[in-house]
C-alpha cells in the first residue's frame, strides 16, 4: 500500500510509514506541550481581546485545529485517500460546524446582553 510520506507540504519527508507515525507523534507532543506551557504561564501580551475573545484563546483554538488536522490526515490516513473521498468527509463538517458555532454564539451573546441590561436582578 502506497503511503504519502511527506508532512508540512513536503518540508519533512520520512523514509517509511512507521517513521512518519513517530514524527507526527513528536510534532503533536510538542504542540500539546506548547499549549500546556501557554496555559500555565498565560503571557500578558496574549490576554488582550482579539475579535471578541482573548488572544490566548485564539492561539489554543488554532493549535487544536492543527492537531486535529494531523490526527485526521496522518493517523486516520486521509492523506492516502482519494481527494473526493476526503472532501466528502471533511466538507460537511467544515460547512456545518462553523455555521452552528456562529448562530449559537451570537444568540448567547444577545441573551447575555439582555440579562445584563434588563430590569431583573440575577444576583441575589
Amino acid at each position: 500500500m502506497a503511503h504519502k510520506l511527506s508532512i508540512f507540504r513536503g518540508l519533512v519527508t520520512f523514509k517509511s510509514n512507521i517513521q512518519k507515525i513517530w514524527g507526527v507523534l513528536v510534532f503533536l507532543s510538542i504542540v500539546t506541550a506548547v499549549e500546556v506551557a501557554l496555559g500555565i504561564i498565560k503571557p500578558s501580551f496574549l490576554l488582550t481581546p482579539v475579535l471578541g475573545m482573548k488572544g490566548l484563546n485564539w492561539v489554543f483554538i488554532i493549535l487544536t485545529l492543527v492537531k486535529a488536522y494531523y490526527i485526521a490526515w496522518d493517523f486516520m490516513h486521509l492523506r492516502d485517500e482519494r481527494r473526493s473521498f476526503t472532501s466528502s468527509i471533511v466538507l460537511p463538517l467544515l460547512i456545518l460546524i462553523p455555521y452552528l458555532i456562529f448562530i449559537l454564539l451570537v444568540e448567547a451573546d444577545y441573551i447575555y446582553n439582555v440579562m445584563l441590561d434588563g430590569f431583573v436582578s440575577w444576583n441575589f
Binding site: 507532543s29 500546556v36 496555559g39 486535529a68 493517523f75 460537511p92 463538517l93 452552528l100 448567547a108
Partner: protein, 326 residues
C-alpha cells in the same frame, strides 16, 4: 486530477464488487459514522459554548477547578494531569497506527502486540478520567449558594487562598436528621445532607474576621474572580440558603450549575466512547490472536477500529481545549 471512480474496461460495472472512491464498504461507512458522531460532539461542545457565552462574566475558571495531580495532595498543579491524559491517548493512537501498518504487512504478532498496547493505553485513560470525576464530585473546599443560585466561596483575606468549610464552620446543636424511608414517609427520598448547616457556616464566618467571600463574577480587567470586602461579605453571607459540597447534577461548588452538567455530560459521553473503543479493540485483538484476519487475507478490520479509535482521540483534543485551556 484524481477521478472518483476507476474506469474499468471489459468488466461489468453493475455486477457488484466495485469500490467507489477506492474505499471498501465497511471503511466508508465507518467514516460516515465518524462524520455523524463528529456533528453530535460539535453539537454538545457548541451548546457548552452557548452557555458559556451566555454567562461570560461568571463562568468558572478551569485552573481553579482542575488542579489535582496523583500523589501531590494539596499542591496546586493545574492542567498537568489532563496534559498527561492527552499524551496517553495520543500515544495509544500511535500504537494503533503501528498496528494498522503491521496489518498491511500481514505481521500477526506485531498487530497483536500493538493492539494490546492500545487497549492498555485506553484503559489507563478511562481510569484517569474516573479519578478526575472522583475529585470533581468530591470537591475539596465547599461553598454556599444564595437564593438566586450564585455560588459563594471562602478565601483568606491576606493571601486570597481558598478555605474549606470545616476549617471555620462552628458547631450548633441541631435536631435535623437525615430522612430515611423507614423512619419517615416511605415514598419521599432525600439526598444526603451536607456536613454543615447554613447557620453553622454563617456563624463561623462571622466569628472569623480574616475570611472574605469570593463571588462567581469575573473582573474583566484582571481575569480573576471578584473578592468582596469584609462588610460586603458579611452582608452576602446572610443570603446563603444551601451548603454545597462537591458537585452533582443540580449544584456544584465551582460556580454556575450548568458547568458541572456539561462537564459530566461531555466528558462522560467521550469516556463512554473510549470505553466502547476499548471493548471493540479487545474483540479485534482476540480475533487477531485467533488468526481470523490471517485467514481472511487482510487486516482491514484493524484499520476500521483504528479509525474509530483515532476519532476518540480527535474528540479529546477538542474537549481538552474547551474544558481545560480556553
Amino acid at each position: 486530477m484524481e477521478a472518483t471512480t476507476d474506469i474499468v474496461e471489459n468488466e461489468s460495472v453493475w455486477g457488484g464488487g466495485n469500490k467507489p472512491l477506492n474505499a471498501s464498504y465497511g471503511k466508508m461507512m465507518m467514516w460516515f459514522f465518524i462524520v455523524s458522531d463528529a456533528l453530535t460532539f460539535s453539537g454538545f461542545l457548541v451548546a457548552y459554548g452557548f452557555s458559556r457565552f451566555k454567562n461570560i462574566d461568571s463562568w468558572p475558571i478551569a485552573d481553579e477547578v482542575f488542579y489535582h495531580f496523583p500523589f501531590l495532595h494539596g499542591i496546586d498543579a493545574p492542567m498537568y494531569y489532563v496534559a498527561l491524559m492527552t499524551f496517553i491517548l495520543i500515544f495509544s493512537s500511535v500504537t494503533m497506527v503501528l498496528a494498522v501498518d503491521a496489518g498491511h504487512k500481514m505481521q500477526k504478532t506485531k498487530v497483536a502486540i500493538y493492539m494490546l498496547l492500545t487497549i492498555i493505553g485506553g484503559a489507563v485513560f478511562v481510569g484517569s478520567q474516573a479519578w478526575e470525576w472522583k475529585n470533581f464530585i468530591q470537591g475539596e473546599y465547599g461553598a454556599v449558594e444564595t437564593k438566586g443560585g450564585q455560588i459563594l466561596q471562602f478565601v483568606t483575606a491576606d493571601a486570597g487562598e481558598r478555605v474549606s468549610l470545616e476549617s471555620f464552620a462552628s458547631t450548633l446543636p441541631t435536631d435535623r436528621a437525615q430522612h430515611t424511608g423507614d423512619e419517615g414517609l416511605w415514598f419521599v427520598s432525600e439526598s444526603s445532607l451536607p456536613t454543615y448547616s447554613v447557620a453553622e457556616i454563617q456563624e463561623g464566618f462571622l466569628a472569623n474576621p480574616d475570611l472574605l467571600i469570593k463571588t462567581e463574577m469575573i473582573d474583566a480587567t484582571t481575569g480573576h474572580k471578584i473578592v468582596l470586602d469584609r462588610a460586603a461579605s458579611e452582608e452576602k453571607i446572610a443570603q446563603a440558603v444551601y451548603v454545597v459540597e462537591g458537585a452533582n447534577l443540580v449544584r456544584n461548588e465551582y460556580g454556575n450549575r450548568l458547568f458541572a452538567d456539561f462537564f459530566f455530560f461531555i466528558t462522560g459521553f467521550h469516556g463512554f466512547h473510549v470505553f466502547s473503543g476499548v471493548v471493540i479493540n479487545c474483540i479485534i485483538f482476540f480475533n487477531v490472536l485467533l488468526g481470523t484476519y490471517d485467514r481472511r487475507g487482510h487486516y482491514e478490520m484493524v484499520e476500521k477500529v483504528g479509525l474509530y479509535w483515532h476519532f476518540v482521540d480527535l474528540v479529546w483534543v477538542f474537549v481538552f481545549t474547551f474544558f481545560y485551556l480556553v
